[in-house]
Symmetry: C2
Subunit: 425 residues, 2 copies
Amino acid sequence: MDLKDTLLVLTVIFVLIKIAAALFDRFGIPGLVGEILVGILLASIMVGDYSIAEYLKIYSVNGGKREFYLIDTLANLGVIFLLFSIGLETRIKDLLSVGRVSLLVAVSGVILPFALGYTYIYFLGDGNIYHATFMGAAMVATSVGITARVIKDNNFTNTKEARIIISADVMDDILGMIVLAIVTGMTKSDTLDIGHVFIVTFEALAFVGVIMLLSLSVIPKIRKLLESHKFGVCVKDSFMSTKSTLIISVAVCLGLALLAEIIGLAAIIGAFLAGILFSECSSVESLRSKIESVNVLLVSFFFVFVGLQIDVSKVTLEIIPTALFVIALAIIGKYVGCGLGVKIGDRSIDGQSMNIVGLGMIPRGEVGIIVATLGLNTVVNGSTAISPELYTIVVLMSVATTIIIPPMLLAAFRKKYGVRLSSKS
Amino acid sequence: MDLKDTLLVLTVIFVLIKIAAALFDRFGIPGLVGEILVGILLASIMVGDYSIAEYLKIYSVNGGKREFYLIDTLANLGVIFLLFSIGLETRIKDLLSVGRVSLLVAVSGVILPFALGYTYIYFLGDGNIYHATFMGAAMVATSVGITARVIKDNNFTNTKEARIIISADVMDDILGMIVLAIVTGMTKSDTLDIGHVFIVTFEALAFVGVIMLLSLSVIPKIRKLLESHKFGVCVKDSFMSTKSTLIISVAVCLGLALLAEIIGLAAIIGAFLAGILFSECSSVESLRSKIESVNVLLVSFFFVFVGLQIDVSKVTLEIIPTALFVIALAIIGKYVGCGLGVKIGDRSIDGQSMNIVGLGMIPRGEVGIIVATLGLNTVVNGSTAISPELYTIVVLMSVATTIIIPPMLLAAFRKKYGVRLSSKS
C-alpha cells in the first residue's frame, strides 16, 4: 500500500466519520453511533461486485475474509488511547472505593447473561451443548470502549456510576477471559482443563494486582523523589517536563497494553491501568489535554472499524425474529444482572444509578463479534462451535446493543447529573 | 499482523528512539541523528541470518526488498504533521517577502549540484550518460524534513533564514519533480518529451498557486464570516471550537497531502500549504499546541524509518573513497550554490545567514534514497539507470549529509540567535 492509498483511506474515512459524528451529536445521539453506521454503509453499499470499502482500499477481501491494512491498527490505537485517558481521570482510591460493588456487578453480569444464552440454545434452540456454551460466552462479552466513550465525551468520568461501570468492565474482561478459557478448553478436549484455567486466572489477577500495588505504593514514592530532585518528570508548568511526561506515559501505556495482550487480557486493560499509574502526577491536567488532542484524531477509527466488520448481506428475513429475541435476552441479562448486582453491593443506591449501571454494561461492541468469530473458527465433532446462522445473530446482537444503548445511557446520565460540558482542553 | 506484533513494534521503537533522541539532545546533537542511528542499528545488527528489525517484525524481507507494515505509514504521517506544524507557524506574507531570494536559492541549489553530479560521472566515472543524469538528479534532492525538524525543535521558525530555507525547499521540491520528469522521460524514450514536462510543471505550479491565492484572498474572507457568526470555527478560547478547528485543519492537511501526491508532488508540500491556510486563524496558538502533542509522538518514526532503509552490509572498503568524494561534492554543491543564491538575491545578507542557508539546504534525507531507488528500478538499454555500486554511494551520501549537517546547522543558528527554548505547549 503506497502513500497515495494510505492518504486516500485516511482522508475519506476521517472526513466521513467526523461529519457523521457531528450530525448525530447535533441531534443528541452519541457520535459513535454515526461512526459505526458509516462503517456499516461503506462495507455494505455495493458497486458491482465490490463494496465501496473495497474500492477505497479500506480492506481487501481474501477468501471471504476482510483484510485490513491500516484501519485496524488505528482502531486499536484509538481505543487504547481512549482507555488510557479514562485511566488518567481515575484515581486508584476512587476505584477501590467501588471495588466491592463493581465485583458484584461484574459477577452477576456474567452469570445471568451466560445462563440466559445457554438455556435459550439448550432448551429452545438446537440443543447442541457447544452451541449453547458459546452462545452463553458471547452474551457475557462487555465492550468497555462504547460506554467509556459516552462517559468521556460528556464529562461524566468522575461520577460514582462511571467508576462502577469502568471497574466492573475491567473485572468483566478478566471473568470473560476465564469463561472463554473454560469454554474453548472444553470444546478442544471435551473435558475441563482446570490447570489451564487456573494459570489464566492467576496471570490476569497478578497483572492487575501488581499494577494496582505499584500505583498505590511504589509510584507515589518514585514521584516524590523525581519531583523533589527536579528530574524533569511530573513537574508542573514546564514545557520540557510535560513533553517528557507525555513520552514516558505513552511508552508505559504501549508497554502495559502489550503485556496485557501477551498474558491474554485485552490491550485496553493495560492501557487503562497505565492511565491510573499517571493519574496522580502533578502535571496530569496538561498530560490529559495532550492525550485528548491525540484522541480527537484517533478514537473515531475504532468505531468505524466496528461497523466495517459487519456483513449486512448475511442478514435474512428469517433470522430477524430470532435475532430480536436474542437482542432482548442480551439486554435483559446485563440490565437485570448488573442492576441487581449494584443494589446488592450498595443498598443506599437509588433507581437512577441502578438504571445507569445496568444500561452501561449492555453494549457488546467488538467483543461480542470477537467471541462469535472465535466460535465460528472452533471445530467440535466436525461442526463449528457456533452455527453460521447463530454467528450472524450474535453479530446483530452486538451491533444492536452498541447502537441502541448509548443514547439511552446518555439520557440516563443527563437525567441524574444534567448536561455537562466537556472540560477545557 | 495482529495487535500483539503491532504493539511490540511500536513499544520497542518508541522507547529506543526517545531514549536515543534524549541522549543526543543532552550532548547538543539534534535528536534526529540518534533516531536515524537507531534505525540503522536495528536493520544492520544480525542475529543469525536475520536482522534485529526482522526479529521484531518491524519489516520482513521479500526478495531482497524490505516490506514495512506499519512504520512506513507512521513515518509518512510523522513528516506530514511536522510540515503541517511548520506551515502553521508560517504566514503567507512572510513567505512572499522572501520569495525572490528563495527562488534564487532553490534554482542555484539545483543547477550547481546537478552539474557537479553529472560532470563527475561523465568525466571521472564510467561516462554513461544515464548514470550521469541520475547522479545529477540525486544530488539535487533536498529533504525539508531534516532541516525543518532542527528549526522546529529549537524554535527558530520565525527567523528570516528559516523562512528562506523552508520556502526554497518547497520550490526545490517542484524543481526536483521537473528534473525527475525530464530524467525518467529521457531514459524511457531516449528523447525529451516536452509535453509531459510541461504538464508536470503546470500542475505543480497551479497547485501551489491556487492554495497561495486561497490563503491570501478567499480564506481570510471566510474566516471573517465564520468568526462574526460564531460558527464555532476559528473562534478563540472555546474548547468546542478549538476541537472543531483541529478536526477541520487535519482533514484539510490530509486532503491536500493526498492531492499533492496525486499531482506528483511530495505529500509534505500539501501538508505545509495546509498549515499556511490555518496559520492566521485566531485560535492558531491552541491548534499549534495540539498538533505539537501529536508531533511529539509521531515525528520520530520518520527519522528511524530513514535509518531502517539503509543496508550497511552493502558498504565495502573499496567504495569508501568514492563515497567520501561524492559526499564532499554533495556538500559543496548545495552549500556554495545556495549560499551564492541567497547573496545574489539579497545583497544586505551577512556571512552568518549565508552559512545557515547553505547548511540548511544540504541534507538529502529520504529524498536522495528515493531518487537512487528510482534509478535502480529504471532500466535503459538493458542496464539500470544507476549501478548498484552508485546506488550504495548515493545512499551513503544521503545518510552522511543527514547526520553530519544538523549539528552544524544548529550551531550556526545558535551562533546567530543564541539558544532558544522551545515555546510553551
